[in-house]
Amino acid sequence: MRRALPIFAVLAALLVAIAVANPFFLEPAGFFAFVKRAAPLVILAAGQYFVIVSGEFDLSVGSLVTVEVVVAARLIDGDEAATWPVLALVIVIGLLVGLVNGAVTTLLRVPSFITTLGMMLVLSGAVFLWTGGAPRGALSQAFRVFGRDTLWSTLILLAVGVAAALIMRADFGRTLIATGDNERAAALSGVRVTRARILAFVLSGLAAAVAGILLGGFAGVSAQVGQGLEFSAITAVVLGGVALGGGRGSVVAAMAGALTLEALFTLLNLYGISGALEFTVQGVIIIAAVAAGAVRLPFPLTPRKGDAHVAS
């Protein structure tokens, strides 16, 4: 947990800076508007964390979010009665895509970078083919309330956050970290590496489905809704101090990383800095974080128990 402290300091500093620039942020309405906006990214970051800490990547979450929203809109088509069946279907699609990603990566031994890149292209191509680039239909009010209503999105965010933390505290969490840290050692000590990784991808798919429900609810149907989200999620996880390559970092810090990223964007926007800079900021964060992880620090760090590569 000690590794996670810096991100909370950065987050706190950014929140203070936002409050200084915009006192409205201190009022409940202002603060929860921020929470609502950050919720999808925080959930995606939690999903991405499971995959990254097990030593893999999931690049398909952005297109998966788009698929979920576009499919939901087309199937619901404004019909309130269709809300719940479609919500269930959205979750199933998320789980299924995660399962395929996990199975292809582990059983067929395709590197996850390629598997999920392929999945991303397959999904965005399929969406384009199905919609011709312009989504049809409309989401029902009952579907949209989850992402549009502040109370709902805050509750969902809390539920996902607590669930993610509990998962990492359970045996499965330790299994996942051991898998990402040293696959061979984990396997030799009885960890079912393949199963752990597949589950990590399934959790990421589930997170994308939930994020899709929130995003679709927040702003309605759009074919660009998930664009670039995979990158934001990875940036958030890295910002939370989670090592790319796996084996290190906490899920709470990854979610704090997502909040920090969202706070940073909010702050940039408050100071009127163009949104185009968001990609630049994310790029710099990812490169800097990985570079910082690779540099050997000049002073000795206290090795953590069970940490095989503290200074690497």
Binding site: N22, R136, T150, G220, Q224, N269, Y271, G283
Partner: protein, 407 residues
Amino acid sequence: MSRPKPFLVALAGLALLAAACTSDKPATTATQAATSAGASAAPSSAASAAGTGEQSKFFVQADYDAQLAMRTKTAQGPADKPWEQAIDPQMVSTSQYKKSGGYHLCFSNAAVNNPWRQVGWKSMQAEVALHKEFTTFTALDAEGKDDKQISDIAELTGKGCDALIVSPNTTATLTPAVKAACGKLPVIVFDRGVETDCPVTFINPIGGYAFGADGAEFLVEKVPAGGKVLALRILPGVDVLETRWSAAKATFDKSRLQVVGVEFTDGDAAKTKSIVSDYIARHGKLDGVWMDAGATAVAAVEAFEDAGVPVPAMVGEDQQDFLQKWKQNNLTAIAPTYPTYQWRTPVIAALKILKGEEVPKTWKLPQPKITAENLDTYLQPNMPPLHYALCGCESLPGFPETWGGKK
């Protein structure tokens, strides 16, 4: 407006270029982007400056004046068929293209990647089906890529087409390809233009200046002096969008309104909603929202609803979701249009040309705006939310199902 997947760019270590790569259209200079950003960077400054930044380098005064004047002119042609009307037509003879019946019509389409183009493309196909003279219709979709459209045009000119319709992806890059085609068969260009007058006719509505000015003038009329206006643009550097903004800017600069921000939304609903929410939080309230395209207008309206503040004067477009919101909430709003009925006109022009009848050299279609007075005429609850009201497709066979509507 397809954009390269941002993460690929970043993974290639080119994150710093991401901003510059967001469009394959001519990019504006960095100073311009900085100026518009800078304009919004001073939210608390005095109301003295209009806050609209520097004028776009795409702004051409003569075109601006011409378009604004065209808005009040009466178009010639059948009143109930605006797609057959023309403003100030200068007719040209087409007798050299006259052929006997059984025509092969060809179409090089820039893309079908947004609802506007989807609606138009369906109308064009229906229009072709109306005319028995066309025995074959070949259409190639360039998928938003200049290079594909260049080879599409070359392919079509060698296919025995009798006439070629081109909807160019970008203006400058497609010009040589269109020029080459002009030597072989009659060419009809519509929507975006090309930098040559070799096509027999160039068809489009009045244009971006008129669109931008219609919205801005409405805000000037409805918002009290000193009122705060937020301007939302999709992205910089695309001529048809630059003209809309530059006309709005000219209008705002002459007014006593305060433009508190000019922001780019990438045409993304979530981003639009976030930006508007931020401005509401920063300023307490806004008095008007100007948009260069209405696709995300509903997201902007929702930002006000969710913040629990009254929705101010809005500029949208003729998409059904916005018109519905307008009617339901009784908004103060206007919808300038870039009518999709212009997709019917090139087919009609092709038929005239192949029959040797005169056509206007520059075929300017009327560009109506939807106001509170005529809102009910355009509101079609049976049509899908992203359908464009000015499709001119209501009388075509297959309506409304072909356009995604319910009977």
